[in-house]
C-alpha cells in the first residue's frame, strides 16, 4: 500500500474524511469543528465536503452536546464527538460514564453505543493545570469504555478508523504535542485493530512500555542508551483498554526487565495498572523489580521549569533505565 509522510493532525483528518465518506451515519460534533475546521484543525475540509448537518458546530455546552451524541448513537447514528481538551470532558462525565459506558450491558445486550469521544490531553506547553491533564486512567477504570492513545500518525489514522467502526464507546485521546509530528501513513482504506500493542523498537535488555507522547521520548532515549550498549525494546499498547498484555508479557519474558512510562499522575494511574498486570503475568521472569515513571502527583504548574520537573522526560527515562543496570 502506498505510504507518504504526513502529520499526525493530517492522519486524523484523513481518517475522519474517509469514514464519513464510507458511512452516512458518521458525523462529527463539537465546538468550532465545522466552519472553522476545528480548533486544532483536525476537521479541516469536512464542513465544506459534508455540510453543516454532518459537521455540527455546537455551543459551549459540553454536557449537553455529549449527551446528544450518546442519544444519537443509541438511535442508530455513529457520532464522533470532539471534546477539545480532556479537561473539558469533565463537564461531560455523565453521558460518557453513566450513559454510554453502561447501556449495552445494563440493557442486557439489547443495544450498543457506537460513539467516539475524540479528545486531547497532556502537558508540556505551559497551558497550566486546567488544560494539561492526562486523565486516561479515569476512563480505563470504567467498565464499558474502550480507551485508545495513538502515538504516531500511522496509529492515529488506523485506530481512529477502527474506533469509528467499532460498535462500542471509545475514548480516543490525542496529545497536544503530537499534532505536528510526522510519519509514514498508508493512503486510503486500511485499519489497525483495537486491542493490539505495537513493538516500536526491538531490543534485548529491557522493555519500556510507554503511551502517547511518552513513546516518542522512550524511542529517543533508547537511541542514546544504545550508544551505552543498552538495547531497549519499546512497546506501545496503543489501546489502553482492552490492554494487550500478551505482547507486553512476551517482551518482558525476553528482556526480564520492565519500565512503564505514562504521563498521568502517579497515584492510581495507568502505569500502576500495567505494573500489576505484568506482575500477574511475568513475575517469575523478572530480574529486577518493575519501575514506573509518571508525572508527579501535582496539578501541572504553569512555570516552564516546574512543569518540566513534573512530567517525564527523555533524560528521566534514561536515568530510570540506567538504574536497572547499575
Amino acid at each position: 500500500m502506498a505510504e507518504r509522510i504526513i502529520e499526525y493532525r493530517e492522519a486524523l483528518n484523513e481518517a475522519l474524511l474517509e469514514e464519513m465518506e464510507r458511512d452516512l451515519a458518521v458525523f462529527i460534533m463539537g465546538e468550532d469543528v465545522g466552519q472553522y475546521g476545528g480548533v486544532l484543525k483536525i476537521s479541516k475540509g469536512i464542513y465544506e465536503r459534508f455540510g453543516e448537518k454532518r459537521a455540527v458546530d455546537t455551543p459551549i455546552s459540553e454536557n449537553g452536546f455529549t449527551a446528544i451524541g450518546v442519544g444519537a448513537a443509541l438511535a442508530g447514528l455513529r457520532p464522533v464527538v470532539e471534546l477539545m481538551y480532556i479537561d473539558f470532558a469533565c463537564l461531560a462525565m455523565d453521558p460518557i460514564v453513566n450513559q454510554a459506558a453502561k447501556a449495552r450491558y445494563m440493557f442486557g445486550g439489547k443495544t450498543s453505543v457506537p460513539i467516539v469521544f475524540r479528545t486531547q490531553g497532556g502537558g508540556g506547553r505551559g497551558n497550566a493545570a486546567q488544560h494539561s491533564q492526562s486523565l486516561e486512567a479515569w476512563y480505563v477504570h470504567v467498565p464499558g469504555l474502550i480507551v485508545i492513545q495513538p502515538s504516531t500518525p500511522r496509529d492515529a489514522k488506523g485506530l481512529l478508523k477502527s474506533a469509528i467502526r467499532d460498535d462500542n464507546p471509545v475514548i480516543f485521546i490525542e496529545h497536544k504535542l503530537l499534532y505536528n509530528t510526522k510519519g509514514a501513513v498508508p493512503e486510503g482504506e486500511w485499519t489497525i485493530p483495537i486491542g493490539k500493542a505495537d513493538v516500536k523498537r526491538v531490543g534485548n535488555h529491557i522493555t519500556v512500555v510507554a503511551t502517547s507522547r511518552m513513546v516518542l521520548l522512550a524511542l529517543s532515549a533508547a537511541e542514546k542508551l544504545a550508544e551505552e550498549g543498552i538495547e531497549v525494546e519499546v512497546v506501545d499498547p496503543r489501546t489502553l483498554k482492552p490492554l494487550d498484555i500478551e505482547t507486553i508479557a512476551t517482551s518482558v519474558k525476553k528482556t526480564h526487565r520492565l519500565l512503564v512510562v505514562n504521563e498521568g499522575a502517579r497515584t492510581g494511574g495507568f502505569a500502576a495498572e500495567v505494573v500489576t498486570r505484568a506482575y500477574e503475568e511475568v513475575f517469575d521472569y523478572l530480574d529486577a523489580p518493575i519501575v514506573r515513571l509518571t508525572s508527579e502527583d501535582v496539578p501541572l504548574p504553569y512555570s516552564g521549569a516546574l512543569e518540566m520537573a513534573a512530567i517525564p522526560s527523555e533524560e528521566k527515562i534514561i536515568q530510570a533505565v540506567r538504574g536497572f543496570f547499575s
Binding site: 465546538e31 468550532d32 466552519q35 472553522y36 480548533v39 458546530d57 455546537t58 455551543p59 459551549i60 455546552s61 459540553e62 454536557n63 449537553g64 479537561d87 473539558f88 469533565c90 463537564l91 506547553r125 505551559g126 497551558n127 497550566a128 493545570a129 486546567q130 488544560h131 508527579e296 502527583d297 501535582v298 496539578p299 504548574p301 504553569y302 512555570s303 516552564g304 521549569a305 516546574l306 520537573a309 513534573a310
Partner: protein, 321 residues
C-alpha cells in the same frame, strides 16, 4: 447613580491601565517571554471597570480566561500580575497559575478560570456564603456570551433566584467565542430572556459606556445587598483582538473591527471625550494620567523580568494529597 468626578477620573485611569497592561502582555507573548496562551481584554475595559467601581473591596468576583481586566479593575497589583504571566516566583500564584489562573483572594477575586463557565457556579457559591453570613456583601460573575450556553448558568440562576442570593451575572457579549460569532449559537439572540424563567431582572446595555455600566451595576448591587436577589446584565461590546494571540481572524467580517475602534465606540476614547467635554478633566490632566499609567506598567514589566524563577522545591508546596 451618577459617578462622582473623582470616581470618573479613577475609572479612566483603570481602563487605561488595563489597555496598557494588555499591550505589554501581548508584547511579552510575541517575544516568547511568556508561555501557554493568553487572551486580551482590549475593548472590553468599560465592563470590568464600570462594574468593579460599584463594588466594595470585600465584595467577590469570579473571572474568566480573559481575566486580566477584571483583576486590575478590582484593584489587583500589576507587578504581581505581570510576574505571574512570566511564571515567576513572586507572581500572584508563585508562577503556578499563569495568565488563565490569576487570583487575589485578599480583594475578593476568586480567580480567573480556564473552564468556560467555571466561574458562574463559584460566584453563586460566594453569594451563598454572603447570604449565609448575612454580611451584606455581593458576588459578581463575569463571563462571556459563549459561556452563557453552559448548563451550569441555568442551574445556578434557578438556585440564586430561589434563595435570593446576592449575585450579579455579567455577561460580556463580545460577539465571539473562540473562532465563531456567538450569534450562531443562540436560539433567541435576546440574552436578557434567559433570566425570564427565573423571574429576576435582566438588562442589556452598551458595555462600552463605562458610566452606563456603572449605573446598571450599582442598581443591581443595591438590590442584591438588600436581599432582592440576582440580576443579569448583558453588556454589549466587541472583542477587538483575536481569541488568543496568533488567532488568524479569518472568520471575522472584514472592516468590522475598525467600526469599534472609533471615538464614538472605543470605551476609552469616548470616555476621554466625555471627561473633557463635561470639564471633569483637562487634556493636560489626562496626558498626565497616561504618562503615569505607562510608567506603572513599565514598572510592572521590569518587576516581572527581574523576578526570580520558582525554586524546584515549589513543585511540592501546597500538595496535601
Amino acid at each position: 447613580m451618577i459617578a462622582h468626578d473623582d470616581t470618573q477620573i479613577e475609572m479612566y485611569r483603570k481602563m487605561l491601565l488595563i489597555r496598557v497592561f494588555e499591550e505589554q502582555a501581548r508584547d511579552f507573548f510575541m517575544k516568547n517571554v511568556m508561555r501557554g496562551s493568553t487572551h486580551m481584554y482590549i475593548g472590553q475595559e468599560a465592563i470590568a471597570v464600570g462594574v468593579c467601581a460599584a463594588l466594595e473591596q470585600n465584595d467577590y468576583i469570579t473571572s474568566t480566561h480573559r481575566g486580566h481586566g477584571h483583576l486590575l479593575a478590582k484593584g489587583g497589583n500589576p507587578d504581581l500580575m505581570m510576574a505571574e504571566l512570566l511564571g515567576k516566583a513572586n507572581g500572584y500564584c508563585k508562577g503556578k497559575g499563569g495568565s488563565m489562573h490569576i487570583a487575589d483572594l485578599s480583594i475578593g477575586n476568586l480567580g480567573a478560570n480556564g473552564i468556560v463557565g467555571g466561574g458562574i457556579g463559584l460566584a453563586t457559591g460566594a453569594a451563598f456564603a454572603c447570604y449565609y453570613r448575612d454580611d451584606g456583601r455581593v458576588a459578581v460573575s463575569f463571563f462571556g456570551d459563549g459561556a452563557i450556553n453552559q448548563g451550569v448558568f441555568y442551574e445556578c440562576a434557578n438556585m440564586a433566584a430561589l434563595w435570593k442570593l446576592p449575585v450579579i451575572y455579567v455577561c460580556e457579549r463580545n460577539r465571539f467565542a473562540e473562532f465563531s460569532y456567538t450569534d450562531r449559537y443562540f436560539a433567541d439572540s435576546d440574552l436578557t430572556k434567559r433570566a425570564i424563567p427565573f423571574g429576576f431582572p435582566a438588562v442589556a446595555i452598551d458595555g462600552n459606556d463605562v458610566l452606563k455600566v456603572y449605573e446598571t451595576a450599582a442598581e443591581a448591587v443595591k438590590r442584591a445587598r438588600i436581599g432582592q436577589g440576582p440580576t443579569l446584565i448583558v453588556a454589549n461590546t466587541y472583542r477587538i483582538m483575536g481569541h488568543t494571540i496568533g488567532d488568524p481572524l479569518n472568520y471575522r467580517i472584514k472592516g468590522e473591527v475598525e467600526t469599534w475602534q472609533t471615538e464614538e465606540r472605543d470605551p476609552i476614547l469616548r470616555f476621554e471625550k466625555h471627561l473633557i467635554q463635561q470639564e471633569i478633566a483637562s487634556i493636560e490632566q489626562l496626558q498626565q494620567i497616561k504618562a503615569d499609567v505607562h510608567q506603572r506598567i513599565e514598572h510592572a514589566a521590569q518587576f516581572a523580568l527581574n523576578s526570580p524563577e520558582p525554586p524546584p522545591s515549589a513543585l511540592w508546596e501546597d500538595i496535601y494529597a
